[in-house]
């Protein structure tokens, strides 16, 4: 018994850590089925009505719609701009390289409250009213660095022999990029986009500073938390969890199936 315990201690520890990680997620999901009134605090009984009517609470779907729109635009801009920087850093040598690396690192080493407060102070000084587009601008700003880091890691892990082979077969620089490099880097770009979207969708602090009267899903949760978050917010939180999990798992299955197919061919 003690031998078994000492052999498996780390596995038990890991299992406990996973339980700890998932307790609030399970709680959020369970309370999305709560037959509650406005205050979703005490278990009142099981119901599907919140799932059938996720927009039932006032403002919740407007806020969700804004979060999705902002997340989509921020992801698009940040992924394009960040991927370009990642290629410059990963594929070229140029002057000002370490300054560029520093400029990419600094936003990640700055607390969100400083990023949010400084940007709002500038907007106010310029007489710009914060709203939808100032939020998009802010989100692109803090997502770029994460995109650069993710895509750069993927570029660095590529086997340079593959690109050499393309050049040996008389592919032009552009063809090599289009037909060899880009498809190989694509999973990294997709991961970066997913990361950017989830960072943007879940951001509260920077958004709260720069969005003015525009409501987002995290802002909705924050404001309603004073009175008790409606069960519809739990429905949306749980649905986002399930959708994201489905995307990640199907991507994993797809890539491992592809790897198996490639192994069979050789």
């Amino acid at each position: 018994m003690t031998r078994w315990l000492s052999k498996n201690l780390i596995r038990i520890y890991a299992a406990l850590a996973f339980i700890y990680l998932f307790i609030p997620v399970a709680y959020t999901m369970a309370f999305s089925f709560n037959d509650s009134g406005k205050r979703n605090l005490i278990w009142q009984g099981f119901t599907f009505k919140n799932w059938l009517n996720p927009c039932g609470a006032p403002e919740v779907c407007t806020a969700l719609g804004n979060s999705i729109k902002i997340g989509f635009l921020a992801t698009l801009f940040a992924t394009v701009l960040g991927t370009m920087i990642a290629f410059a850093l990963g594929r070229y040598s140029f002057r000002g390289r370490s300054a560029t690396n520093l400029l990419i690192f600094l936003p990640m080493a700055t607390p969100e409250i400083v990023l949010g407060a400084s940007l709002l102070a500038m907007f106010l000084n310029l007489g710009i009213n914060p709203g939808f587009w100032t939020t998009v601008i802010a989100h692109v700003m803090f997502c770029i660095s994460f995109v650069v880091v993710t895509v750069k890691a993927r570029i660095a892990s590529l086997d340079p022999k593959l690109e050499e082979a393309a050049r040996d077969l008389y592919a032009t620089e552009w063809q090599t990029f289009r037909r060899v490099t880009l498809p190989l880097v694509a999973p990294g770009i997709a991961a970066a986009a997913l990361l950017a979207f989830s960072l943007s969708f879940d951001d509260f602090i920077i958004t709260n500073f720069n969005s003015g009267t525009v409501n987002t899903f995290p802002k909705f949760v924050w404001v309603s938390s004073a009175r008790g978050v409606p069960a519809q917010a739990n429905v949306i939180g749980s649905a986002m969890f399930l959708i994201a999990l489905a995307i990640v798992i199907s991507a994993q299955i797809y890539s491992s199936a592809k790897a198996r197919r490639l192994q069979k061919k050789h």
């Binding site: 780390i10 596995r11 520890y13 890991a14 850590a17 996973f18 700890y20 990680l21 998932f22 307790i23 609030p24 997620v25 959020t28 605090l41 005490i42 701009l81 370009m84 920087i85 290629f87 410059a88 594929r91 070229y92 140029f94 560029t100 400029l103 990640m108 080493a109 700055t110 607390p111 409250i113 400083v114 990023l115 407060a117 400084s118 940007l119 102070a121 500038m122 692109v140 050049r167 077969l169 008389y170 592919a171 032009t172 620089e173 063809q175 989830s198 879940d202 509260f204 602090i205 995290p218 949760v221 924050w222 938390s225 917010a233 939180g237 986002m240 969890f241 959708i243 999990l245 990640v248």
Partner: protein, 297 residues
């Protein structure tokens, strides 16, 4: 197809046009960061030394280069400052204690379930962190299951609470930033060549010695990255203190937030933001230096 374009291959040798490519790739993104990260910081520095216009309306300030703003801001809020750093340090250490064995188990003991377990580490992220923090508040709160169980067992008194305490704030931050700690540690453990650990065993080192002298030192880059990714957001956080804390657990983030929105005292908020950022950057630099030299030992 490839042969048809063979002639153009020579033209793409890095010439004058080729030299410009990296700068063209960098320009839009770096311009964005310059306009919406660097310029706001410069503007913030400028705001931090302003003073209120005498007889002006609330929120109007003029530049008087008053450095005393910094002294005032710090001395009025030194308790919140030290609390921010103590809470951040405690939650970073707790997160490290939870994450390291977890990352170790995933890297070395999970076999074919490795990828699934990695997804599970990130998965809680997919539910809004505010919802999860509020869930903790309700789980640990006065009407929640933990308190009622402890009460029926007579382990705590009728008026003891877990929420609205410093303990709740620190554990809330630990929870929120846990994946930021686990993933980098996992990444550096995963890169370790298993032959190094075998070699250590061949040289009669026991498991503990192998861990202490081989595995742990090699995982240091992950530990450094993880502690930074946890400590930095934790020091500036105010969401956990707001939801899980009470007025005596206010952190510097709460002060900056209320100076900005409730009191419209931009100069103090700016001075506090700058002091926070400077303190974090100094700590981070010292820490990276120390960790860097420790690695060489």
């Amino acid at each position: 197809m490839a042969f048809a374009h063979a002639g153009t291959a020579t033209a793409s040798k890095p010439g004058r046009a080729g030299m410009r490519i990296p700068y063209l790739l960098l320009l839009p993104g770096l311009l964005w960061l310059f306009m919406f990260f660097i310029l706001p910081l410069i503007n913030l520095a400028e705001t931090s030394t302003k003073t209120a216009v005498a007889g002006g309306e609330t929120g109007s300030y003029e530049q008087t280069f008053r450095l005393q703003n910094y002294v005032d801001a710090f001395s009025e809020n030194s308790a919140q400052f030290s609390r921010s750093f103590i809470y951040a340090l405690l939650s970073t250490l707790l997160a490290l204690a939870i994450s390291y064995p977890l990352a170790y188990a995933i890297a070395f003991k999970s076999g074919k379930y490795k990828n699934i377990l990695l997804v599970l580490v990130i998965a809680p992220f997919f539910t809004s962190f505010l919802l999860r923090t509020i869930a903790w508040k309700q789980i640990l709160g006065a009407e929640g299951p933990v308190i009622s169980v402890l009460r029926t067992l007579h382990l705590i008194g009728a008026d003891t609470s877990i929420t609205a305490t410093a303990f709740a704030v620190v554990t809330g931050m630990t929870y929120n930033f846990l994946p930021f700690m686990t993933l980098p540690i996992y990444a550096s453990l995963e890169r370790i060549d298993p032959r190094l650990m075998e070699a250590s065993g061949d040289l009669y080192a026991n498991g503990l010695t192998t861990f202490r002298r081989v595995t742990f030192p090699l995982s240091m880059p992950g530990v450094v990255a993880g502690t930074l990714l946890t400590f930095i957001p934790a020091a500036g956080d105010y969401v956990n203190a707001q939801i899980l804390g009470n007025p005596t657990t206010k952190m510097i983030g709460n002060v900056i937030d209320s100076r900005f929105f409730r009191i419209v005292d931009y100069p103090t908020a700016a001075a506090l933001s700058f002091t926070l950022m400077a303190a974090i950057l100094i700590l981070v630099t010292v820490y990276i230096r120390r960790a860097g030299t420790d690695e060489l030992v």
